[in-house]
């Protein structure tokens, strides 16, 4: 038993401060990402989430240049970009994609310049990989209070907006007729999304942040019929992927080819992807059962669909 334990958790795993910080931050971020992610998937704003993550590269690389923590950079640029999207016209679906694309392009151009400065002028070659693909083991414990505060803000926003957001995600007309201030509600949700993306970027990088946001949520939505249950399931999937990823990354210090550890983000994202595929299995199985039932009752009742 202890041999198995020793094989899974490499020596020094539990004593490592880096691991402890990584587990705490990873858990909080997974919870935040799942709460926001379910709404991101429901509202079809995955592209906006991806863009906010990508554009965080600009903030992260800028923060590196001035010697600040990357989270501040992610946060600042993500919120500014979210505000820009909102102002340009994120309300209409078509305008939304266009606005997102325009803001994204401008931001990434700047990121190219800043990363170039980081790598050449400041000689911080690791900056590019850290920003784009994250490094949860490099998070200083001094960042913890900020992570806790931001997580609390996001969860509070989602809890307060829960019902109006659900209703306006279904039909803005219906929501508006009920007196829900559709636009402010959407804008506040976008703020929560921006913060959640910044938090995810710290753990698994700007490029991969959407994977943590959308992946567990999408997997959970395949399994459940209720939004609150979906958030819970997504949180469990996210936390599971995060913890397993951290354990495997720690173990991988002994792995070839360089014996210097594989990136956590690789493990987390891969685990999420596998879980997403597995989450589709019950649906496939149900569909097969239904076909079998139809075959015995003499064909499906084809219902008209709007």
């Amino acid at each position: 038993m202890s041999q198995v334990f020793g094989a899974v958790f490499a020596p020094g795993f539990f004593a490592s401060t880096q691991v402890q910080v990584a587990v705490v931050v990873g858990t909080m971020v997974a919870v935040v990402a799942s709460a926001v992610g379910v709404f991101t998937v429901i509202r079809g704003q995955s592209f906006a989430g991806e863009a906010l993550g990508d554009i965080g590269t600009t903030g992260g690389s800028g923060a590196f240049l001035v010697g600040a923590g990357p989270l501040w950079g992610f946060l600042a640029i993500s919120i500014v970009a979210a505000a820009a999207m909102e102002l340009i016209g994120i309300q209409r679906p078509r305008g939304r994609d266009l606005a997102t694309g325009i803001v994204l392009g401008a931001g990434l151009g700047l990121a190219a310049l800043l990363l170039y400065f980081d790598a050449t002028y400041h000689n911080k070659t690791g900056a590019t990989v850290t920003i784009l693909f994250g490094s949860i083991f490099l998070i200083p414990s001094s960042t913890l209070p900020l992570v806790v505060l931001l997580s609390a803000i996001v969860l509070a926003i989602v809890a307060v907006l829960y019902r109006p957001l659900l209703l306006s995600s279904m039909s803005t007309e219906l929501a508006a007729a009920r007196g829900i201030p559709v636009r402010p509600v959407g804008a506040l949700y976008l703020l929560a999304l921006a913060i959640a993306v910044a938090l995810a970027s710290v753990t698994i990088g700007t490029i991969l942040s959407t994977a943590l946001l959308v992946g567990p949520a999408a997997a959970a939505l395949r399994l459940t019929r209720r939004p609150a249950t979906a958030m819970l399931a997504a949180a469990l999937i996210g936390i599971g992927a995060m913890w397993l990823g951290i354990v495997l990354a720690y173990d991988s210090y002994d792995w070839p080819p360089i014996h210097d550890g594989w990136p956590v983000s690789f493990f987390v994202v891969t685990i999420i992807f596998v879980l997403y595929l597995l989450a589709g299995v019950p649906g496939l199985w149900r569909a097969r059962q239904r076909r079998r039932a139809d075959a015995t009752t003499g064909g499906p009742l084809i219902a008209e669909r709007r």
Binding site: V38, I42, A159, V160, L161, Y162, R163, P164, L166, L167, M170, S171, E173, L174, A175, A176, A177, R178, G179, I180, L221, R222, T224, R225, R226, P227, A228, T229, A230, A303, E304, R305, R306
Partner: protein
């Protein structure tokens, strides 16, 4: 009959008085007046672009009127009026949307409130009652997005009814429904109107499915309205005046057809603002 303003004399649950809406220079609605009384089933009939949706939006308080006023239960209407239940026109839910029929009905009760819903026995009982009222119990726990169009309409009606409104507005609820489903929805609405005393205002581009239950009609052509009982409005003289040219109302096998009158150039119909097309059945 035409241009009746039912604001004062009867205790109208809805009084629309001289409503005009001008949007970027175009008059969408011109001096529209009518009243709706409790338990009454009113059809808002007109072709696409006649101003039906705009009129409903004015009543809901989502669209400001250029002139005129709307009284709901004797008071000026405001946004989020709990006296009005609303079923919007286009309602397409993704099958993956994690929302059961009963959740959607529950959102009708408290969807505008902030914070997380607190489940209670009373809330659940009320939701069950509403699901039963629209015969939606068999699919109460199914995802809304997986239901058929007719089933979704019934769930949406329950969603609108649960806040105990006095007036139920439905925007084209029969569009995209096959005939049996449409008849089912119409029968359900008529039952709700008579049993619960709720006034129903339903927009449609086709009046025939509503004829068996429709007590009053608001007929919109190019933003102008004629209102009254079906017999008062759906007449050759009234509709000819409304269309601004000769039309004829024909009764064939219990159906009402509105066609271009004799002597009208069939092609001219296209050039008028009205939707009238000779031979083609307008209503």
């Amino acid at each position: 009959m035409s241009g009746e303003s039912g604001s004062g004399e009867r205790r109208a649950v809805l009084a629309v008085d001289g409503v005009t809406v001008r949007l970027s220079g175009r008059e969408i609605l011109k001096d529209v007046s009518f009243g709706v009384c409790p338990g009454e089933f009113t059809g808002l009939i007109g072709s696409n672009g006649a101003g039906k949706t705009t009129l409903l939006r004015v009543i809901l308080g989502l669209q400001a009127s250029t002139a005129g006023q709307v009284l709901v239960d004797g008071r000026p209407r405001s946004r989020r009026n709990p006296l009005i239940g609303y079923v919007p026109q286009k309602f397409l839910l993704d099958p993956d949307m994690p929302l059961r029929a009963r959740d959607l009905v529950g959102l009708g009760l408290d969807g505008h409130r902030f914070g997380i819903p607190r489940p209670s026995r009373a809330r659940r009982a009320l939701i069950d009652e509403m699901l039963a009222a629209v015969d939606a119990e068999p699919f109460a726990d199914a995802r809304v997005g997986t239901l058929s169009g007719g089933e979704q309409q019934r769930v949406l009606i329950a969603h609108a009814l649960i806040s105990r409104p006095k007036l139920l507005l439905l925007d084209e609820p029969l569009a995209n429904l096959d005939l049996p489903s449409a008849q089912e929805v119409v029968a359900l609405l008529a039952r709700i109107a008579s049993e619960q005393g709720i006034a129903i205002l339903i927009s449609a581009h086709e009046m025939n499915p509503l004829l068996p239950v429709m007590e009053r009609i608001v007929y919109l052509v190019g933003g102008r309205a004629a209102s009254g009982t079906t017999e008062e409005v759906v007449r050759t003289d009234v509709l000819s005046k409304l269309y601004g040219r000769q039309v004829e109302v024909l009764h064939i096998h219990g159906r009402v057809l509105v066609v271009a009158g004799p002597g009208e150039d069939p092609d001219a119909a296209h050039k008028h603002e009205g939707p009238l097309i000779a031979v083609e059945i307008v209503q």
